[in-house]
Amino acid sequence: MTDFPFLLAMIAVPAVGAAVVAALPRGRELLAKQVTLGITLVVFLLAVLATIAFDAGGDRFQLTTSVSWIPDFGVDFALGVDGIALVMLLLVGVLVPVVVVASWRDTPPGNRSMTTFCAWLLLLEAMMVGVFAATDVFLFYVFFEAMLVPMYFLIGSFGGPRRQYAAVKFFLYSLVGGLIMLAAVIGLYVVSSSELGEGTFAFDALRQIEIDPGVQKLLFLGFFIAFAIKAPLVPFHTWLPDSGAEAPIGGSVLLVGVLDKVGTFGFIRYCLPLFPDASRDLAPLVLVLAVAGILYAALLAMGQSDMKRLVSYTSIAHFGFIALGIFAFTTEAATGAVLYMVNHGIATGLLFLVVGMLIARGGSRQIGDYGGMATQAPLLAGVFLVAGLASLALPGTNSFVSEFLVLIGSFPTVPVYAILATVGIILAALYVLLMYQRTMHGPARGVLLTDDGTAAPGGSTATAGSTTTGGATASGGGPATGGSTATLTAPAPGRLRVRDLGRRELAVAAPMVALIIALGFYPQPLIDLIEPAVAATMEDVGADPGGVEPATTEGTD
């Protein structure tokens, strides 16, 4: 069983599937969606089987497959997973089918077809698996860049009114990062050839070589900047709110839930083991960016009037927590950071999905266009609340465990940053509860009101209003002020006309809610998968893999 090439299959199945779906005749959208769902479920199954085949206490990289690819440059098509990559593959396996079901009723803009959407989605899944499973640095780079293409089309062809602007911005940012990384990848190859006599891109070989500290810093920065753009740290972040807001909901989920994690995954997989000295030397820089991001992005999230932009900003704050956990150099914090990557994908994924369900009803992304939904749509409100509580890392939800580990693990080594980050949990409560209160609580109001002729039942007018993102956000978005309060005090005419969650929507939300709660109370199985890989990484970077030594040693048990 362990000889089965799980990873290769997890790339090949969706890649071939993408070609098959793309070749389907234009009228067969339903069939395309069904085939897509089937394929993504197969990938999920493969991910589960791979996890079963994986031995947490075994070799660092398992389920390996290696084929020589470009022998002249020592490039191999080499795949393999450690615990860190494996949990990311599980996340991919879970999220993509959920996204397919969530996008089932989407109507793409213009004359585009859902068949194309499905094809791009499957191709994206193949690329995402590849980027996490690659153990050859060049192969990683190829997937890292190739991943852009399906995402570019998902945003640019299937997104909101300003999709083209967002897609190009996303592409340019990623391209700049990718090019800098390419330079560093080639640089790494050159260094390896001078150190080993023969150039290589194999991660395990590269990990062993001692690189001159000056060169290390340059190479580190090359990788780091690419990753810091991908999992945006302040100040590289401004592309994400646009992309997150304009992408179709399914695209937003995968963009923020998985794609951006490639950045934080890169920190822990490539930056730390390959450039340990540079990582240690430049850690203060990263920590400053991380903590600045936690506070800055949280404050910005509070000021947003567009729900999807708001969720995007919360993610930037969360990426700050992940970066803090990785660059605190303790097993506890780094394990927490990896767990955070998974949990954030689930929690923020659900938050995007439920925001999408809200938008499907009101046709607007503006918070001010909704109000009082909880009365008529208690299930929708309940799922929204669970997603929100997971976002603010309430104990009992999965995110608590990871945030707690990041903070408690970073406190002993970098206390000042940990304290500042801890203050961020107040801001998290504020941005989640402000949005929840304005959309779900209070008297019925907003675009879903009917009767009395005051209603603007969804659709074009409201959507047009949401296109003025930049300036409108600044002027109308202060917390508890601006448009929303004015509407609150206005007499409430008419009634809401809201459908609560349907069966398909419940099928989307239920597994996510179940995961949020299950991993909130029993996270240890995932931790057991992650920890050995993290401990090995800590060893690479010269930290004690056994974890934090208590400062007061006398009398402890």
């Binding site: 404050l299 002993p412 206390p415 779900m440 029993y522």
Partner: protein, 631 residues
């Protein structure tokens, strides 16, 4: 702290938490199918938990029993076990939570009978009970933290239960946010314990806290106190508690009077081994208690909303408890005894207030009450007994437990002891004033009812719990101090009681407190009992009354110090992010990529630029490598 592994009944004490949790899950997931019997199930789970808790307590025999469940989080050197500690201290809390909780569940069957969302109300109440039990039963600080934020969630859900009302929604959010400020303190305290000692379990921390440097222990103590202040509505985080009265009245009784808001007292009492090492932090606990008990008492005198008066009374009474636990070993038991008796009489008073509101079409304005004594005899009698217990009428509950705190304050023996004792006595007078004012405005005098109000006694399902609690209000103090001394029961936790010498003779304290109490009650009679109560609050009042009506400007301070600057900062940052950070990059993007529409339309263009980019990258690499090798 010597714990023994669990066997027998106590090994099943996890069921205490599991029962109400399962109740909440069934009611929330079961949907409308459970509407018909949901309230009964909700009540049954808590009642069953009470029976189990009582059985466990009887089987306890002064031991401290550790119940191991499973590994919650273990990585690196951090090892957090999901485990429970059933000891005399957690046992009294279990009995209070499940006992008073069960009564309030019964009451809610009647109180919420006509609410279409009654099932969800019981689900949230069950959730609260489960979280609160985890809070007091956890055997480590992380379990406590999980319960701590769990009760915060339940509190949020229940304050916002009538979420159509903007005021309820806002109050719920305010409660959650202010609690989170406190939670940051609690979280940081836990991080500090882990960094210092490598453990977060009670046994590990308390066993080795003596080895930690004094300044660090003080920091831990102060951070824990911040958490306690948030949860218990103590200065400077007291402003959320009165607003929390937006929730249905049974919620106010259970969560915002009898149990959750006393969690801060539990935290400090549980952390006694930490506070024993840090006189500084303990002095700050004292100060917080003293300040809050005065704030609550003063503000309570000027409120016209019956629930707000009771809420400020709660703030003030918890101030007494903080004062007591801040006194150290001399005060732990006194503080906890007052916590228990307060749980009885304040829960009873809130249930009575709910009964009155039921009769007055949900009005809370005492200026429109009056003359209800004859219309609602059961409510009047039970509420009256609670009132007497609260103001410390001789031989009722409050008399025993409040006097014990005041005595303990005097027993410090220094000047501060007299100051604190004096303040506590003064606040006892104020307590008598605002509670007598409440009694007179509600039950006596000429009716000032609004049109269409026809007062009637509440149904038995509501009055029965009120009767039980009023019996508790009368007897609890006597039972806990004289018959089954709490001091002895808790001695495994806080040590054997010392036969301390009293600085001021207890009988003298009792007489003094009783006199001041009578004085306060008489003053109230002079103000509202002797003459007609105006239905509109007089506008021409002294600055003191005006300040008290506005809760001593707590909201004004919070708004001008935090909320408005925060809003301004947020708006400024949004502007900067859109114009500054993003603007710079957009300019770059425009020059690089040309207009977006052109790029989007022509795919060949983008492939070419991509190839061009790769070429450019290769050139950069070559240059960089040359530079490196040359250098």
């Amino acid at each position: 702290m010597d714990t023994v592994p669990a066997e027998g009944l106590i090994a099943a004490s996890w069921l205490l938490i599991a029962l109400p949790l399962a109740g909440a899950a069934v009611l929330l997931l079961g949907g409308r199918r459970t509407d018909r019997w949901g309230h009964l199930l909700g009540t049954a789970t808590v009642a069953a938990a009470f029976v189990l808790g009582l059985s466990c307590t009887l089987a306890l025999d002064g031991r401290q029993v550790d119940v191991d469940l499973f590994t919650f989080v273990a990585t690196g050197s951090l090892d957090v076990q999901a485990g429970l500690l059933f000891d005399p201290l957690s046992a009294v809390f279990v009995l209070l939570i499940t006992g008073v909780g069960a009564l309030i569940h019964v009451y809610s069957i009647g109180y919420m009978a006509h609410d279409p969302r009654r099932r969800r109300f019981f689900a949230y109440l069950n959730l609260f009970v489960a979280a609160m039990l985890l809070l007091v039963l956890g055997d480590n600080f992380v379990a406590l933290y999980v319960g701590w934020e769990g009760v915060g969630l339940a509190s949020y859900l229940l304050i916002a239960f009538w979420h159509e009302r903007p005021s309820a929604a806002t109050a719920a959010k305010k409660a959650f946010i202010m609690n989170r400020v406190g939670d940051v303190g609690l979280a940081l305290a836990i991080f500090l314990m882990f960094a210092q000692l490598g453990t977060v379990s009670y046994e590990g921390v308390f066993g080795s806290i003596e080895a930690v440097a004094g300044g660090t222990v003080t920091a831990i103590g102060l951070l824990l106190l911040l958490g306690a202040c948030g949860k218990s509505g103590q200065f400077p985080l007291q402003a959320w508690l009165p607003d929390a009265m937006e929730g249905p009245t049974p919620v106010s009784a259970l969560i915002h009077a009898a149990t959750m808001v006393t969690a801060g007292v539990y935290l400090i009492a549980r952390s006694a081994p930490i506070y024993d090492q840090t006189p500084t932090a303990r002095a700050v606990v004292l100060a917080v208690g003293a300040i809050t008990l005065m704030i609550g008492a003063i503000v309570g005198c000027a409120q016209d909303d019956i629930k707000k008066v009771l809420a400020y009374s709660t703030v003030s009474q918890i101030g007494y408890m903080f004062l007591a636990v801040g006194l150290g070993p001399a005060g732990y038991v006194a503080g906890l005894a007052h916590l228990l008796t307060h749980g009885f009489f304040k829960a009873g008073l809130f249930l009575g207030a709910g009964s009155v509101m039921h009769a007055m079409n949900d009005s809370v304005d005492m200026r429109r009450f009056g003359g209800l004594a004859s219309r609602m005899k059961t409510t009047f009698v039970t509420f009256g007994l609670g009132y007497l217990a609260l103001i410390g009428f001789p031989f009722l509950s409050g008399f025993y437990t409040k006097d014990a705190i005041i005595e303990a304050a005097f027993d410090r023996g220094d000047g501060w002891g007299y100051v604190l004792g004096g303040l506590a006595i003064l606040a006892a007078g104020l307590t008598a004033f605002y509670m007598t004012r409440l009694m007179l405005m509600t039950f006596f005098g000429r009716p000032r009812w609004e049109d269409g109000v026809h007062p009637h006694e509440s149904p038995t399902v509501m009055t029965a719990p009120m009767i039980v609690l009023s019996v508790g209000s009368v007897l609890a103090g006597f039972l806990l101090v004289v018959v089954f001394p709490l001091e002895e029961w808790l001695s495994p936790v806080f040590g054997e009681p010392e036969g301390a010498e009293h600085v001021v003779a207890p009988i003298l304290v009792s007489i003094l407190v009783t006199l001041v109490m009578l004085l306060g009650a008489a003053a109230a009679w002079l103000v509202v009992g002797r003459r007609e109560v105006p239905v509109v609050a007089p506008a021409r009042v002294s600055p003191v009354v005006r300040a008290a009506r506005r809760a001593l400007y707590a909201d004004t301070v919070n708004e001008s110090l935090f909320m408005r600057p925060g809003q301004w900062l947020t708006r400024a940052l949004v502007f900067v992010d859109n114009r500054g950070v993003d603007g710079a990059v957009n300019g770059l993007a425009a020059t690089l990529g040309g207009s977006s529409s052109r790029l989007g339309r022509t795919q060949t263009g983008f492939v070419r630029s991509y190839a061009l980019g790769m070429l450019g990258g290769a050139v950069i690499v070559a240059g960089a490598l040359l530079a490196v090798t040359a250098g």
